[in-house]
Symmetry: C3
């Protein structure tokens, strides 16, 4: 089981309830009221554990697993070991996520209140059930909504709005921004500082006032030590449900659509607009003023210098259509090999 120093496990759950939780159908010769105690990987699970199969690479492990129950697609049912309860689902990884969350619910906070060692400005508002830990600083006129969790060391700047149920990790700094509901921001994140805007000149670079904000819509997640600059005049926007990993840089005026996945160490330059459900691999860089179409995919380490068509897939630096990039890689390999002969 998960280390009890860090995780608190709920009581055992019956197979029938697991099926409801995971939106799955039970098959196999197991009583629906049989209970299970925990979640584990296929190779480590025992009779009391629930596991899942989501990747065909692990199909053999599935066939020999000792897991008592498994969330799995119907197509694999006939490869299950005998005695295993099957929770048949079209989305087994999602099913597993729901079951794991049932076994390890977000821990009820021991206290749902404002620490005596937090520094909350008199003009700030704090909603019902909000928790503000020791050492956090909430500045003038900030609005902390109901159910928000502000960790130690967080600095919420003047006027910032944090929506209902949002959680902010330790030592994160928010300024000049409006944060939606159910957002998760990890530790060390910096949102709303003024962007990298200068009128360049041999006599010295002159700072250009940055008069926009950062808007983080509902259900966004932002990884540790990521930085998001506020807009120069327009806002910088991260659309609902978008998930951003650690150490990502998002420059001023960038607009990111809904449901995007942005992996660690990506950098997005100023004023670039990204559609919905775009996926950007780790360490990719995008220059400024681009338009990246919805549902496009950008490979890790790409250097994107041109607009990307909706649904397109690109790679390389400078980036090109994935098909051409793969050809390029193969061609260069072949040239080197010919040279070797």
């Amino acid at each position: 089981m998960a280390d009890p120093r860090f995780f608190r496990r709920a009581k055992p759950i019956s197979l029938a309830d697991l099926a409801k939780i995971a939106n799955a159908t039970i098959t196999g010769d197991v009583a629906p009221d049989r209970t299970f105690a925990d979640v584990k990987a296929l190779s480590e699970a025992g009779p009391e554990d629930v596991s899942f199969l989501d990747n065909k690479r692990y199909a053999d492990t599935f066939s020999t697993s000792e897991a008592g129950a498994c969330v799995v697609e119907a197509a694999y049912a006939n490869r299950a070991p005998s005695g295993m309860a099957l929770l048949i689902s079209d989305a087994p990884y999602l099913g597993y996520a729901l079951i794991a969350a049932a076994f390890y619910p977000l821990q009820a906070d021991e206290s749902t209140n404002v620490s005596a060692n937090a520094h909350v400005a008199a003009s700030a508002s704090v909603g019902d059930g909000a928790r503000i830990e020791a050492g956090a600083v909430i500045q003038a006129h900030a609005e902390i909504s109901a159910g928000v969790h502000i960790s130690s060391g967080v600095v919420v700047g003047p006027g910032v709005v944090v929506g209902t149920g949002t959680r902010i990790g330790p030592n994160t700094c928010l300024s000049h921004c409006l944060i939606g509901d159910r957002v998760i921001i990890h530790g060390g994140v910096n949102i709303g500082q003024d962007g990298f805007g200068f009128a360049l000149s041999p006599a010295g670079h002159h700072k250009v006032p940055q008069l926009g904000r950062v808007i983080i819509e509902d259900d966004v997640e932002i990884g540790a030590n990521t930085t998001i600059d506020r807009g120069a005049g327009p806002d910088t926007v991260v659309g609902a449900g978008t998930k951003i990993d650690n150490l990502v840089q998002i420059a001023h005026n960038v607009r990111i659509g809904k449901g995007c996945i942005i992996v660690s160490q990506v950098g997005i330059s100023g004023s670039t607009e990204i559609g919905d459900f775009v996926m950007i691999g780790g360490q990719a860089g995008l220059t400024g003023h681009l338009k990246v179409g919805s549902r496009s995919k950008i490979a890790a380490q790409s250097g994107v210098m041109r607009n990307v068509d909706p649904g397109g897939t690109i790679g390389g630096s400078p980036a090109k259509p994935m098909r051409d990039w793969l050809k390029e890689v193969a061609l260069v390999d072949r040239l080197v090999k010919n040279k070797n002969r």
Copy 2:
């Protein structure tokens, strides 16, 4: 207008005063005592707003803009819509920056003093008008000059000197460093920790004492979550007026000249020396012990493994003269296309 939760706008300003502020000359048929209320982008500005044209891509937008006044080069004057007041300038973006700063001056701090919830060592000194926010920690013998703004959560280590008028963003950590005047350091920055110096050995890597400092000269700006290691014996130096973006890594003994522009996620390895007015694009990496000449330009994502000539422009990984890199990119494209046929 900019969100009043975050920005406080000054009173309207007359055209004559705007011309003085921007070092511009008035043309057009508008009374010099007519006042303007705000700054806005060309496409959004109305009769009361001042805008600017700095990029010929937006010349058409300029011609149809409803802005009451616009900072613009003389060459574009004849394309202005009728009724628009023109503020003619050789440096319109700089002119705009000055005007925007006049409309939105740095907010006078509500309090210019040391928070009762800051932790300031008895042996530290704090200059006149310095502001130290709740939760900041100023350690032994640190010197905070007049007019400095230290945000919440900042940690200023023993002996550190912070120059006049410098502003330090929240949760930034300073140690073993001397910071100049009018420097801006954003949140989450780490300056002065000991560099990555080890005597490597199969028996274990032995830490080498790092006995230098970090020197940040006047008018430098440093972006959020950037890291600058102190020197191993010599100092790590960032020259006056240099602007560094977010998430940049600067290793021990690096010396950066004056007026450089270093974009987000750049990494500069130990002991590399960079001249004056060098521009380094995002995510570029420089190996150690290089010399990069003044006024050179390094493209985004470059991998720089050799010295760079003064005034040179390079790109690619490994980096080469820009001309050769562009040829390489075109050549590979052509090879792939020929292969396609």
Copy 3:
């Protein structure tokens, strides 16, 4: 000498004692009881200083140096200037490191105790001689071992264990992790937040509970603003003696062996396993689920998409054996030059 604001120098040390400290043998015509006062680079050292020669590039500097003593390999002894005391060693950089540490020992903390301005939960334990600075937060049931130094602004989450003699830099955040003995973690580091794990779906990305921990073994060093996510079920592990630079990203379930060197801005994707004594250059990126063999070397900016053999050396993006990559670079250079003609 090093800036006394930041470093405190010990008393002069005799040549005989220096030899013992550095495990070196004395040669040259200098009395073993002669004392030396400081360490300096070859070009700056004077008669009272100890220097070192570790890189043949500096052999000429060595021959003309005025250093009173020098740690050097036997092969260079005959190139020493007359009058210089030689400390002959097979590992002169290590010898220097030991001598520098003797001249500048880690400063005895002025106070070895818990600041009245730290926030330590009643259920947390704090070992003998541990120092916890102002503004640090130690949450419920955390265990701080003897001799630990916790800097200002650090947040130690519930249940976290910090081993003996470990030092944690300012504003670092630890959760869901077990930290070994004699570990050094610089400022702004985030360890133990939950990894980037989602069940992706057009209806929205669903967060998958991350039930593992981060295990940092003994003698590890972790650079400023680095991020290490906790495991999804298995743990994320950093092996004993591994040194990690600034701004590195380590994703969930990654296992890093012993004695590795991981340079700044590297990104390692989920579930990748890295052997012992692996060296990874700056800004390299590794995709997930890879196996990287012991003693392999990965060049800076590499994009690693396949397993790496033990002892292998690779470079490029996508990465290939170094030999092939160098050929590729040379070949492309030649094609461009031919084209030029």
